[in-house]
Symmetry: C2
Subunit: 200 residues, 2 copies
DNA sequence: CAATATACGGAACGTGCGTTCCGCTTGTCA
DNA sequence: TGACAAGCGGAACGCACGTTCCGTATATTG
């Protein structure tokens, strides 16, 4: 299901199956500009940034923006899905090592740093599904699954206490990210990570 | 300074020094209704709740609401200041006991539970000053000072690790509150509290 | 029971933002 | 190079929300 829908979101309105025709050169260029501008804008100012500002930042009219993305949410989705995909990739890289505990804690630390300067990612994680019945839910579930894997391995290795589950870890992660925006990542991550270790 | 200003906020626009005249009976009644309705509305839906809804909930027209509070922010302030005052009182109660560590951790747990069903409190804590140069900043500073006292005593008693400061604790608290909204308070508080204890 | 200041309700206004529409421009292809 | 689909810009629309205004109602006072 996702491929088709993803394609639709990525290629513009009106084509659900395949690229009927390649985009015109300027259109392709503008599309990329919009994506870049939106990524930066969302990261800096969060979901609340007005669409006019994104368009201006991309050096494009709002009409053009809407030609490429049918809705503000669709644009946001394109970007946040990409961000989360990046996280998924990182999880894969980390989970192939020998040190399960190290992998888990490294991921936690990296994610907090990432969220610190990506307001959008934080807000997205904060929205516990149930609102948008679409892609994001599915991608978020994949992230949860991946983190769950990391967590279980770390628990099996005795590096993380056994009485926490994925949902708690995700929420905690979100909380630390929110907190880190104000106090900087360093100190807080240490505290939470220590809390996640088994009590001796 | 606060008494005068507080009085102004509490008694309506136009009187900065003293109550020129007692409120009419119906006005006093409505004022209380508005405060109650707003407290409930802000707690349930957060700062974003439309003012019309608060008025409706209070069984009052918007005009009446604005007669009592010059602005939405003023109304919010009246309520959140009150909430934080409650927290301050609780800190005082707790800090007179013998068990400094217990006091600190009890406060943390209670505050998270409180914030779990008071969306407004959470949002307010999330706003790191710098926006509203007025009362809230001062009240928040008092809260920070009080928590700082609790923290220092707990650290002196060896119940809390020495390498965290008040700001970090406040941010952490805010993060846990945000997380607790989604996962429930119990598990998360335990993890964070353990993280705050000294490593053996 | 007047007379009057006080308070009330809710329509109306201004603003900001997402989205749509449409006349003009430009890349593409024969 | 000319014709035409594809794409562009930005004015205009609709909506939600905070705030203001003013005609009406009512508590208070003598």
């Amino acid at each position: 299901m996702t491929p088709a829908t993803t394609r639709a979101t990525a290629a513009g309105p009106g084509e659900l199956v395949g690229p009927a025709r390649p985009l015109r050169a300027d259109a392709r260029r503008n599309r990329q500009r919009i994506l870049d501008a939106a990524a930066a804008a969302f990261a800096e100012e969060g979901l609340a940034v007005p669409i006019d500002r994104i368009a201006a930042r991309a050096g494009v009219g709002v009409g053009t923006l809407y030609r490429h993305f049918p809705t503000k949410d669709a644009l946001f989705e394109a970007i946040v899905v990409d961000r989360i995909d990046g996280l998924l990739g990182r999880v894969d890289e980390l989970s192939h090592g020998a040190d399960a505990g190290g992998a888990f804690f490294t991921f936690v630390a990296e994610m907090v740093v990432l969220a610190t300067d990506h307001k959008d990612l934080l807000e997205e994680l904060g929205r516990r599904q149930a609102d948008a019945p679409g892609l994001k839910v599915e991608v978020k579930a994949r992230l949860e699954a991946a983190v769950g894997r990391l967590l279980r391995e770390a628990q099996a290795a005795g590096a993380v206490r056994g009485d926490v589950d994925v949902v708690e870890v995700m929420c905690l992660l979100m909380g630390v990210c929110a907190a880190a925006v104000h106090a900087g990542p360093t100190g807080l991550v240490r505290v939470v990570c220590d809390g996640l270790r088994p009590r001796q």
